[in-house]
Each structure stands twice: as C-alpha cells, then as structure tokens.
Amino acid sequence: MSALELIQLNLLTPVVLAFFLGMAATLLRSDLKMPDELYQGLSIYLLLAIGLKGGVELSAAAPREFLIPAGGAVLLGLAVPLWCYALLRKIGRLTVADSAALAAHYGSVSAVTFLATLAFLAALGVPHEGFMPALLAIMEVPAIVVALLLARSRVPERTPWRELAREILTGKSILLLAGGLLIGLITGREGFAKVEGFFVTPFQGVLALFLLEMGMVAARRFGDLRKVGWFLVGFGIVMPLLHGALGIYVGKWCGLSMGGSMILGVLAASASYIAAPAAVRLSLPQANPTYYLTASLAITFPFNLTFGIPLYYAFARFAYGV
C-alpha cells in the first residue's frame, strides 16, 4: 500500500471523520455542545475498557515477553523529557516552567492516539502484542516525574513531594488504566467475557463519539496557535516524528512484533492531555497552560491522528524491512 493509500485508509474511518466533524462544529460556531458529564463518562469508559482488555491479554502473556518491552517503555518515558526540556530551554527560549511542562506532556502518552492506532492496525490486519495497554499505563507517569524534577530544582515550590507523588499516581487516568489492568489480569478471559457486551462491542463507536468532542476541543484552541508561535508548532510536529522513529527502534530491540513496535512508537510520539495537564497545573502553576495545552491538543494530537499514524506505520515497515 502506498503512503497515500495508508493516509486515506486512516483518514476515512468513522473515528477520524468524527474528529473532523467536531472541528467543523466549532469552526462553524454550531451550538452543538457535548455535556461535560458525558465527556467525563466516555473517558472513564474508554480508560477502563483499555485497561481491562490489556489486563486480559497480559494474563495470557509470558512474563518474559512483557518485561523487556516494559523496560523499554519506562526508559522512553524517562529519556524523552530530558531532551525535550533542553531543546525548549535552549533553542525555544521558553521559561523553566514552560519547558518542563511541555517535556512532561511529550514524554507522557495519549490514550486516544493509542486507540486510533489499534483501529488502524486492525483495519490492516496487522497483529500486535495484546499487552500494549500495559505499556500505555506504564508510560504515563515517568515523564511527568522527570519533568517536575527538572523544574523543581530551578523553581520555588510549595507542594511536598509525597503529596505530589500521590496526586500523580492516583490521577484518574492512571487509576482507571491500572485498575482495569489489574481486574483484567485477575478475572482473565473468562471473567471478561461477561462484560464484553459493554466494554468491547460498542467500543469503537464510543471512541467516535469521544473524538467528536475532542475535535471541538482541539478546534477551540486553534485561536491560540498564533500565541504559541512557530517554534512550538514545529516542535509539536517534528518531535513526534523523531520520537515515533525512536520508539519503533526501541520496540524492535525489545523484541516486539512490527505491530507492537509501531504502537510503542505512537506512544512515544503522542503527547498527554489528561494526566500531564492536571499534574502540571497543580505542581508547576508558573507554566502557562496555553503553551502545553495548545501544543498537545491542537498540534500534536491532530497531526498524529491524521498523518502521524500512517507515517509511523510506514516507518515500522521500513524498520522491519517488510
């Protein structure tokens, strides 16, 4: 399949088109409004469902298979914020707080980008390790911690560490993902079968509805693109490409299948917009949310969702020589 065909295959799915519809709604100033409570409900559902499915698969995997990629994922999470921070400080000339905040977001991961990738691979019939949701969960936190450490040594701060650690580790996305993983792990395929009618059957459709809302949210930030400047726009597109390639190679070194490596690449390439913003807002209040939210939501997320995923796939094929 040519790159163009891949892009087309990715763009013309209900899920991605729903994202565009949401953007259109905002840009046309429609009165369509998704209630906040609905959005929260959908997000609880998606995170729990990802966790459950991942846990079920994990219960079937050999520990060895899983531990090496898990190590690779942690390393990615620890390393990515380091160079992001340096780059943003030195070349982008952003403040300590803003640089660290962005580093936290780009080192952490986006669950929805992850899900869109699974849908893309499923459409192509490309197999992958079932335990990837566990890597998603694993990669949420380390980057946030590293980035806050980077900033803390340079910024006056009030929240005690212990409190901060609790806040990050019990953040709702971690809690639902990790909790879901654990439940899936314990109940296994048999127990999960009972709740599949809720957590699997309607999943893709719920994701489409969620992306409708995300399209509206992303488009609402387009006005801020001017405020963040060209450097950050470039950062939000170039860094994901680099991280994607890196993630794919790390995945390969860890012995993942091509599908698995591509997913790890996407995780590395994606930027967080649930766990990181909440943690950063409270622990690094000096950082300007316009920067990190706009970069994550209005630049990197739409880029990954539309062009990034097929590109990472093409790159994974290249890396695996297929």
Partner: protein, 100 residues
C-alpha cells in the same frame, strides 16, 4: 426576623484548585462552604481542568476576621499563578452565630 451580619466570601477559580482552596479556607476558620460548578472567562483564557473553562465557585459564610484572612492568603499564594477571582459582601444570616 433577626439575622446575623456576616461576610459571604466568594472565590471563583480553576476546578483543579477546588480541593486546595477548600482545605485552605477550612484551616483559616470557615465552618462550611457551598461549591458550584461554573464556567467563566477572564483575563486569562486557559484552564487545565478538563481542557475547558470549567471553574468552581466557592462560597463561604464567615466572620469579618476570617474573611480577611482568606482574602489575604488568596492574594498572597494564588493570584499570581492561578486564575482566581475573590470578592466579599455583607449578608444577614439566619442563626448566623453558628458560622463564627
């Protein structure tokens, strides 16, 4: 009907701050509070909570001294970095003795 003159302190701020603000006002002597989920816009556009402009409005009936302490702490520790608005007005409260 006899009412007790008290201060009603209203704080509007980002939803992520809710827990901290509540702990803060309790510590400063507020005996209770009422919290409303609101939306808002001010000089700073962006909110981190739920990506949206969702704010919370916290209202607390307190004595003049506690009101003062709350406003003081807010303007010391919150106004610089967070999107917070605070104001106070006089109300007459039924059985107001309870709240001081």
């Amino acid at each position: 009907m006899k009412t007790h003159p008290l201060k009603l302190v209203t704080i509007i701020g980002e939803a992520v701050l809710a827990d901290r603000l509540l702990r803060e006002i309790r510590k400063l002597g507020a005996k209770g509070h009422t919290l409303t989920t609101v939306e808002g816009q001010g000089s700073r556009g962006v909110r981190a909570s739920e990506w949206e402009g969702k704010n919370v409005k916290i209202e607390t009936l307190v004595s003049e001294e506690v009101a003062d302490a709350i406003l003081h702490v807010l303007s010391e520790h919150y106004f610089a970095n967070f999107a917070v608005v605070a104001y106070v007005h006089d109300v007459g409260v039924v059985r107001g003795e309870k709240y001081v």
